[in-house]
Amino acid sequence: MTVMRYREAIRAAMMEEMERDSRVFLVGEEVGHYQGAYKVSEGMLERFGEKRVLDAPITESGFTGISIGAAMVGLRPIVEYMTWNFSAVAFDQILNNAAKLRQMSGGQLTVPIVFRAPNASAKQVGSQHSHAMEHFYAHIPGLKVLAPATPADAKGLLKTAIRDDNPVLFMESETLYNIKGEVSDDPDLLVPMGKANIVRPGKDVSIIAWSRMVHVALEAATELAKEGVEAEVIDVRSLRPLDETTLVESVTRTHRAVVAHEGWPYGGVGAEIADRLQRLAFDELDAPILRATTLDVPMPYNAKLEQHVIPGVARVLENVRAVLYRS
């Protein structure tokens, strides 16, 4: 085990997989000579050279399409967007090509590709740079969507993603890049997709979260413990496939659930989880499932307003108290 930062864990996963498989390469804006906009790919150009660490001009749709084309004839690209916000201009490539090629070719083609970038809010970066894009992508059959909260999961899940034969979208967070944690040195340690992780067991309420919101949920759980409420915190990690079993089992124990995520409340992964739980565990529920989300407005720049819009500990607590009928 080595203690490393989240960004280093992602880098380690990419470097190990590139050592292991010559078909894997990294492409994106500023990933090479600049060493990565968030320094995730620092040192990779020096290690692998310009053939396998490619600086792309500002052409998200272009280099996304090129990578999908390369993947469908056998390479295994890792595409880095400077942030997931910029994937919007490549949305057609992801929706119409990455996700559809396999089915529309009658199963002749596969697209083994990873798209990765920081996702959701950062700090006062305004309305165009704060999107939680997992909700858009998890909607699409043919894609897989992961959102790790810890360095260990970042490494293990990214390695699994790179070895997967399907398009996998990997949601990182600028706010998590510096967090530290113990990470396995085993180059073959993979974290499976579709497995949620109970990061804090509890019996009174399930708080379901992913990415940065897992840390917010844990803070909320600490607060709740002071009030005598034992909250179970579940790190979903994998949004598609989704680990229904762990979620249902948790709610079967706690009978109450709050989904805490960044992104707007209209539709989205939180609504999907709420739907599944009410269908699969209806008789276990003692309260409606609530969601602590980003408010239903574009992200404002003003620091106080931004903090009001982003879901924080207070909003999670408010929702937990509501499902406990303690408000």
């Binding site: 004839v73 089915q103 070719s105």
Partner: protein, 327 residues
Amino acid sequence: MTTTLPKSDELSLDLYRQMHTIRRFEEEAARAYAQGKIGGFLHLYIGQEPIAVGASSVMRPDDYLLTTYRDHGMALARGMSPRAAMAELFGKVTGCSKGLGGSMHFFDVEHSMLGGYGIVGGHIPIAAGTAFASKYRGEDRVTLVFFGEGACSIGDFHEGLSLAALWKLPIVFVCENNEYSMGTPMSRTMSVEDVSMKALGYGMARDRFFVESVDQVREHLAEAIERARTLSEPTLVEIRTYRFRGHSMSDPGKYRTPDELEDRKKKDAVLRARAELVDEKGLKEAVEKLEAEVEEVIADAVRFAEESPEPGIELLEATTYSGEFAR
């Protein structure tokens, strides 16, 4: 031209057979469409056959080809069987894409036919990606990608060309300029009529001609393919052509006059090829023999398509993801 390709009566007959096969295939497809046996969209290639046949005849079997939704001609020229093509139109499991793709999504990986694509211009970066993969692996394989002049206004056209020129990819971009972007003449879609001039801004080689014969297509494209194969440099080739049918079967073509259409049909390169074989080379008997054979091949394809089974629901999830379905 620097390239001189061998010519023989045998080759001319074979090229005519291929063009005639495509035309008869599509005439029968139009009939089946009118009878309600083919659904959705059906975009006919009639009038543009010399381009598909000429291009494929100077490609290596392992050279990749990608094209638009007007893809029947390209697929047949690449070597897809008329049976697999017709069955796909009929939505049958024996079709090239198992009946899941339809008219717009013909795929035949065995013949390096990497698809018909339904989003205008979206396949251009995909094609550049297949060329990227060839270069990455050190292969001397070339990609040809076809699109209409309607695609030259959308971003993916420019991003694909820009990146192919920047990264020196072994690809030939072929604009089949049939003068109409659906119902809009090029005078109302482009500020510059000469599409090949778009190459200048990317420092890319270019070529442009008004198609008169399949031999002419062969000569021009052989040169561009050679440039891609030996120098790993892209070329933009504009081929001025004309489609004799509407944009799709639902288009009555009211945006052009009957006189214009009749005038262009007099220049039909397929009929001219036939006249040359019959009148100038005295090969009437051979031409009539091959035409009779083509009739049987097409009739067999229609019979095969009609008699084939439909795809079962078990294909749906299996072709959406490689491996386990991600839900």
